[in-house]
Subunit: 410 residues, 2 copies
């Protein structure tokens, strides 16, 4: 199934700078796809710390289980990723496959299997033949390089219609620190074909517990604030690797003033990758930011934002370029969070369509219709209940989504 | 927008018997639709008790607010329903409109406004011109009749493609008691056009608090166990009116042995109407029962069932006649309820496709494919965690849904 490139794809891709201590290679292991790379090996120099956020699914893939156990160690020397098979719901065979995969990677890189991280994406329930990694892994280990990042970004794609890359840098005492990342995802999920995976590489010297502490809130505002179809993958994985090769004093505490600066740059990279994932949402033709203000708490605002962002009726209305604020009222009402109809205001971009529980007096239908034709929209909801706020990101629900997910038998 | 009749529509409609103490009429008030009835007046004889379940939306319609306040009284003499305008998110104007509507109905039927119940369905946010009810209500009051029920069933339709009627009867000491009901809904929701409304009429003599007590659990297993698109209407309303005209001793307590028999018949009617609503789900081509067994509790089973029934990926897979059990694993995993991959079993009908955390050894692809071509399917999930069970009902997600909800500007 060859998919057309998303109309929301970026016009160009950033060229990511090398990250000291990070080398990689890709190969064709023939897991599922033909004539394209489908496996990625990344090698980290000694002293690399790692932090990560994994799917909340209670039926996670074998690779997710593997990573969760190894994250406690906080040390990484290698990362092996494949596309085409998620190795999820594969029982004992799945556990054996990850152990075998880690063994091949550890042998090729000369480290312990507990320093190897794994991620898989693709079809669920099919046993993964880890034997297919043996030759390619040895081969990749012999030709590791530190550029170009476009190669790993492409090797991890499944139903993605474009590769996803982002980078940022900060300076501490005149020394630059690089943060570069790649991601895949085309649907917040879609365990059959897609799933969200993201790998971030930095040369910052930063202790694993600090990295983990900074990563959590950043993920909450980025990858955990996007939705394509409300479904949660069995394989969602975001891992951050810090090689420590930048010539600055180590960041050993989250209270170090540099930690906040680093965290902001990390969040910028995660934000860019998360938005690219929504832009490649299955069938997406419009990118929508849902901004909720005036909730009783930030968490309440987030839940209301997600109720709107996940509503099939809101998403189909956007696909129809219909400023259908009645459906937004519906979604606010179903969120189960404190809200009062008579205090509620709704705007599309800068155009207020409803306020104080009814249609805005000066509502301009023509201006709103023109606004809805854009491909980047904002829905703003003010609740008038408190100070809580949140932003979440979604896309429209179109015939394209049905075609990708329903018009075939796998 | 003329919609083709759902392929899941019933082959014929039941002829509902008269219910002593219930008379009704319909009229064309011209609220939105042309050349069809859009308003229903029902009159109840003195002594009629009423119970009801209303939407959980925190932004309910003005009519829902009105009913919630009057249900405490437990007494009904009239019901006025319109289609075409939901009178939701209409602020002070909406409250004035329901008061005016109740006034017209009370005047026409010669009772107090507090004995009048109201329901509205249709577009949200448009002020409802209650003045349009004045003439039709007076006219309807002059030609009340006790048959045929097809007329009220048609007058309350919006995007429904067929009318929904069901009936049951029980005998107590040789005396028959009738329970007949009508419903509309074409989507569990869809506040712009649809919404779920249901009105049940019985001649049983049953006190309002008892009726309310019996209704709640029955609704949980019927109308609250169906979903078309996970969105919750601002107007969902189910009201049960008991005229007390059947010649039996009043049922004054839920402990009366006849209460359980009556409750089962009531649930049968609600079940039939709920299933008809899913059969008329927007774009539906398949009716799906999701049965969950072995959860830690019934509530946990219900939540897992709803996670499956609401998953866009599960619903598009069914549309594609794809026995994609990986997506069911995904939905179980995201439900957030106790589950263990290695104890999970999944079947389509009688065909087990996965067990103990992996594909079933004897999985028969051809038999499963043949099964998926049917228009009435069952997904069975066994969790192996406990004794909790639940059944929920959904439909597939097709291009038809997108066309109905996204291919137009309202």
């Amino acid at each position: 199934m060859a998919l057309p490139v998303s109309p929301l794809a970026p016009a160009s891709y950033p060229e990511l700078p090398e990250v000291a201590g990070v080398r990689f290679a890709t190969a064709e292991a023939g897991i599922k796809y033909k004539n394209r790379t489908d496996v990625l090996l990344v090698a980290f120099e000694e002293g690399t710390s790692v932090a990560g956020v994994l799917t909340r699914s209670l039926c996670p893939s074998a690779a997710v289980d593997w990573c969760r156990e190894r994250l406690a160690g906080g040390v990484a020397r290698g990362l092996l990723v494949n596309s085409g098979n998620a190795n999820a719901f594969t029982g004992e065979k799945g556990r054996a496959a990850v152990a075998k995969s880690a063994h091949f990677a550890a042998e090729a890189l000369g480290c312990s299997t507990d320093e190897i991280f794994l991620a898989s994406t693709g079809v669920i329930g099919e046993p993964l033949d880890a034997g297919k990694f043996e030759g390619p892994t040895r081969d990749m280990a012999g030709r590791l390089a530190s550029a170009p990042f476009m190669e790993p970004a492409r090797a991890i794609m499944t139903t993605d219609t474009f590769p996803k890359l982002a980078t940022a840098s900060v300076e501490f005492d005149g020394v630059p620190v690089v943060i570069s990342g790649i991601a895949k995802g085309s649907g917040m999920i879609a365990p059959d074909m897609a799933t969200m995976l993201s790998f971030i590489f930095t040369d910052a010297p930063i202790a694993a517990p600090v990295l983990q502490k900074l990563l959590g809130p950043a993920i909450d505002r980025t990858f955990n604030a996007i939705t394509v179809d409300s479904d949660t993958s069995t394989s969602d994985t975001c891992l951050v690797f810090a090689t420590g090769k930048a010539g600055i004093e180590p960041i050993a505490s989250a209270e170090d003033p540099r930690a906040a600066i680093f965290a902001q740059a990390l969040e910028d990279v995660l934000h860019e990758l998360a938005i690219l994932t929504v832009r490649d949402g299955e069938g997406a033709t419009k990118l929508v930011t849902v901004s909720v203000e005036g909730a009783v708490s930030d968490q309440s605002a987030f839940r209301i934002g997600m109720a709107i962002a996940n509503s099939p009726l809101v998403k189909t209305a956007i696909a129809g370029e219909d400023a259908n604020w009645g459906r937004i009222v519906m979604a606010v009402g179903k969120a189960g969070e404190p809200a009062e109809r008579d205090r509620l205001s709704i705007a599309f971009g800068d155009i207020t369509v409803a306020e104080n529980g009814e249609r805005a007096p000066g509502y301009d239908e023509a201006a709103t219709s023109a606004y809805m034709k854009g491909d980047t929209l904002e829905i703003r909801v003010r609740l008038g209940m408190g100070e809580g706020r949140a932003q979440v990101y979604t896309c429209d629900l179109t015939h394209g989504y049905i075609t990708i997910n329903g018009d075939y038998r796998s």
